[in-house]
Subunit: 232 residues, 2 copies
Amino acid sequence: MERKVVVLLSGGLDSAVTAAICRERGFSVHALTFRYGQRHSIEAQAAVRVAERLGVARHVTQTMDLRAFGGSALTGDLDVPRRANALEIERGIPATYVPARNTIFLAFALAFAETIASTDIFIGVNAVDYSGYPDCSPQYIEAFERLARLATKAGVEGADFRVHAPLIAMSKSQIIREGVRLGVDFSITHSCYDPAEDGAACGACDSCVLRRKGFKDAGVIDPIRYVARTGD
Amino acid sequence: MERKVVVLLSGGLDSAVTAAICRERGFSVHALTFRYGQRHSIEAQAAVRVAERLGVARHVTQTMDLRAFGGSALTGDLDVPRRANALEIERGIPATYVPARNTIFLAFALAFAETIASTDIFIGVNAVDYSGYPDCSPQYIEAFERLARLATKAGVEGADFRVHAPLIAMSKSQIIREGVRLGVDFSITHSCYDPAEDGAACGACDSCVLRRKGFKDAGVIDPIRYVARTGD
């Protein structure tokens, strides 16, 4: 029987590459997506397309409302910052940080994993381009693994839960090249924090800026649609 | 200004006493309740009553669907065991264990706390009567605190998140006596895992059995309604 793994799938580029890595390793991919009250549902729709394209064993979407707490640009409480290029992205923790988001996501992934008797969770976090987010660090991942073993029936019975973050030390261009190698269809992924009504990416939020720079550095054409801007 | 705390409020007896402890200490109580796909919504309704009675500063109810994963009697996948008395409650992890539930609850509590600039989460877990649940142990609580400091913007900036479990070492009768002292109205709390249609407690699930024994040991009359049974 194939080894079952839970993969957090956002619909973005990083999680699509993470899921493709799991497929290449021959795992039975159980994908988990969240609608958590983002400004738009385009990301979750992209996750459905990515899951279908990869042919995952199962795809569960959890809906919740993190807007009830507030405190983030991604859930509509703050403006999404726009930049001219990657150099403008400030150091420190960005406005798009959502309080405790990855902890909530990993907690659900742990529930999913324990239910299907899996001990492996894959998450597409990255500590290079997203160094400002606390819940993307190797120390954080290790702390969650430790918690998982104490938190669950399976854990106290000896299951050695692991949180795998295969992209954690890769640059965006390395991730894109890995995706190309694995045959990921980037045209169905979505990265923009603040897309237009028709789904076109803004091209100027941190996520778009990092994505565009990554494709440029990798020497690969980004197949998604961006809002036309002067100078493009 | 009053110190803000987040209290996990289930509508049960333990969390009502926990919230009353916070009120006695003069904290600004921010209550958090979950509808997670239980067999019934009576518990969440009880939480609303308890929050109103205590006069909390804010009460947020999060809705999610843990049935999507399955694996627990509380979400309808297994039968709720019934007992004649407390001696029959088996050792080990009960069928009513919900995979990773407290981790999910604490993750949301952490998001709530960070958003309101609080560093204190109160949870009514108990390691005496619920010794079978892994996510009620002191080691688990400590592991979550460690995670919280790494997981959040506030934590990496120095906030010392604490998860308080004031009932963790108390017996059910001690918890009930503490509730009496604090003026908790037990008639509006709900403990039963498998209530009748009209809301009456079954009297025979683990939660009812522990509650009844606790009131008996405390020498206090339990004001809630139980389904009439032969021999009662």
